[in-house]
């Protein structure tokens, strides 16, 4: 017994240090990218731009944090961008109608969660593969949003509500605080709670998880509801930031969020990754997009760059897994 125990603990230590190394590589890449951008652009390393990067990263991380849980459970949620659009438009019209930001926020987050619930039911009860179900959901939501808005724009929200997106506290944008709160909640939930550990187990091996008594369906619905609710919350930050709501506010948010999760080291095949990694992924991706802006590269290149980053991240993931096996 003792002879088998020693190598196992040794292996664990190696696995641990492997994870830490992976994280170090990413932080290194982040610093390197920052250094390159500082060298290339005079504007990059200014307080204004760094705060801008942090604010953009905050929104991206928020959406990606919910998505991380879904991908940890070996699912995918392609509907988050469209979810932001619909939840945002509902929230905006409630705020306009009642004048109460709190009620609007409740509706936005509730709408997001309800969409997540619908995704969860499609995936678990109808057994539709998650990428097909949420991809279909994305188009349905887009359709409903355009129908609801009819090309209109809702704008002008109470100043108190706008603080959520464009306000500062001690010189730091409010969304950045939201980001750190969600980082803390996400890390605690995933690493320190039974539900979080069950999500890892489902992602690693759903059959084994079921056999060990994990309520797989309920946990899967939970991750989609969380992902949807977080998208609803993100929509509020978008509203507060741009002070208006249109049918297309979420259109360009899904691909970067997926890229942030994958670049952050969460495996597309489920079961491995961390919410902390997603934060680094979100920062890396924001730096790339911000750098492209500063270097005055046409924003049309952004989906292309994001596409290539996603493919590279998954390719590296597949390779590391193959070496691991």
């Amino acid at each position: 017994m003792s002879t088998t125990a020693i190598p196992r603990s040794a292996r664990n230590r190696f696995a641990m240090s492997g994870d830490v190394m992976q994280m170090l590589y990413r932080v290194l890449a982040l610093l390197l990218l920052g250094a390159v951008l500082t060298a290339l652009s005079d504007v990059f390393f200014t307080t204004g731009n760094i705060l801008n990067v942090l604010r953009q990263a905050a929104l991206l991380f928020l959406m990606a944090s919910g998505l991380t849980l879904v991908i940890l459970a070996a699912g995918l949620d392609l509907s988050i961008g469209a979810n932001v659009a619909l939840s945002g438009c509902f929230a905006a019209s409630v705020i306009k109608l009642t004048g109460s930001p709190w009620l609007g926020a409740g509706v936005g987050i509730g709408c997001g969660a309800a969409i997540g619930m619908a995704n969860g039911v499609l995936v678990t009860a109808l057994r539709i593969p998650s990428f097909v179900a949420t991809y279909g959901m994305m188009w349905i939501l887009t359709g409903v949003t355009y129908y609801y808005m009819g090309g209109e724009t809702i704008h002008g929200f109470p100043p108190g509500f706008r603080q959520l997106g464009s306000g500062h506290l001690f010189g730091i944008p409010v969304p950045v605080y939201v980001m750190f709160v969600f980082l803390a909640i996400g890390v605690f939930f995933a690493q320190r709670t039974i539900w979080g550990q069950q999500i890892y187990a489902i992602g690693a091996n759903p059959v084994a998880a079921r056999l060990s008594g994990v309520p797989v369906e309920r946990r899967l619905i939970l991750v989609y509801v969380v992902s949807g609710a977080v998208a609803g919350l993100a929509s509020l930050i978008v509203l507060a930031r741009i002070n208006s709501a249109q049918g297309d506010i979420g259109e360009e948010l899904t691909l970067p969020a997926i890229a942030a999760v994958l670049v952050g080291g969460t495996s597309l095949f489920g079961g491995s990754g961390t919410v902390g990694g997603t934060l680094i992924g979100a920062l890396l991706l924001t730096l790339v997009l911000n750098g492209m802006n500063l270097l005055q590269i046409n924003s049309s290149w952004q989906p292309l760059a994001t596409g290539i980053i996603i493919l590279l991240a998954v390719w590296i993931d597949t390779r590391t897994r193959r070496i691991g096996e």
Binding site: L126, I128, Y135, G136, M137, G143, Y146, G307
Partner: protein, 314 residues
């Protein structure tokens, strides 16, 4: 499942799509007298041709337990390549060649990423979707490409012995895909790729080579469809094909091809495409905006999958 059981399974599924199609037709004909006119029916069929040319290879791709989310974006990029080449050289043939080239490149890229690099199909094609869409925007600067030779427009509006050219093209595409799938070794291997990949390996067939060919087929068909799309719009537009992949996946799902078990049914896809075409046309006549039509298609698909699920358990 034996061949006989498969045929029986397919036959029991015939009513599902057909019933939906007939029901939709009856409802729309009752709601709008213009719906059942011969001119409108010809219109529905002609407008369904582009979708059919995407849905046919997509059926094969889904049968290999794959997916091609990039096919709409590739169609768009191919259409832009076609328009630009035809304008600068004055030759529609060279334009088509350029479109096929774009399609083949993306098909090859998708195939290699899926088969050689082992990247899951939906994420591969999500990535190439971003790339194709980005390229479309960059190349056109977000503007329409106009001023294509008049001969291209005739490909969509012209007809032979009373049958519009697009329908002839689509019929040819259907025939070719049918023969490929049901009458050649390639087709047998496609069935095996979804149902029994191990057997294929044991038989010494290159799974990678087969997968690459299936995705290449998708890219090439998108290239051909670009000819119809460009002719129809008489221009190329960087957002023209966005969402076409959703319509084609929806048509296939409604048509009874399963995402899990890898057994596809080409005629079901044809019926599914016509069903989507009827739905869009009927909603158009009722002045329902295009984005809302998408939501209706989504609802139809969920209904189809729900019924599919009930049948699977029965």
């Amino acid at each position: 499942m034996t061949a006989q059981a498969l045929t029986r399974a397919r036959l029991t599924r015939v009513p599902g799509v057909a019933v939906a199609l007939i029901l939709l037709c009856v409802v729309f004909a009752a709601a709008n007298p213009g719906f059942a006119s011969p001119a409108n029916i010809a219109n529905i069929l002609t407008q369904s041709t582009i979708l059919l040319m995407l849905a046919l290879p997509m059926t094969l791709i889904i049968m290999t337990e794959g997916l091609d989310l990039s096919i709409g974006a590739v169609l768009t990029l191919a259409s832009i390549a076609l328009a630009m080449t035809a304008i600068s050289t004055g030759s529609p043939a060279l334009g088509l060649l350029a479109a096929l080239g774009v399609g083949a490149c993306f098909g090859l890229a998708n195939g290699v990423l899926v088969a050689v690099f082992d990247i899951p199909p939906f994420i591969t094609t999500l990535g190439t979707l971003g790339i194709a869409q980005g390229l479309s925007l960059v190349v056109t600067d977000g503007q329409s490409v106009v001023g294509i030779p008049r001969s291209i427009e005739l490909i969509y509006s012209g007809s032979l012995a009373g049958i519009p050219y697009p329908i002839l093209f689509a019929a040819l595409a259907y025939l070719v895909t049918h023969v490929l799938l049901y009458r050649t070794r390639f087709g047998t291997y496609v069935f095996a790729l979804g149902g029994n990949r191990e057997a294929l390996k044991v038989a010494g067939i290159s799974v990678r080579g087969m997968l690459i060919r299936v995705y290449m087929f998708g890219g090439l068909m998108a290239g051909f469809a670009a000819l119809l799309l460009t002719a129809r719009l008489n221009s190329a537009h960087p957002t023209a094909g966005i969402g076409m992949e959703f319509d084609s996946i929806a048509a296939i799902a409604v048509g009874g091809t399963s995402f899990e078990r890898g057994n596809g049914w080409l005629f079901g896809t044809l019926l599914g495409v016509v069903t989507i075409g009827v739905l869009r046309n009927g909603l158009n006549l009722m002045a329902v905006p295009s984005s809302t039509q998408v939501a209706c298609i989504g609802a139809l698909v969920i209904l189809a999958l729900f019924i599919d699920g009930l049948r699977g358990e029965a």
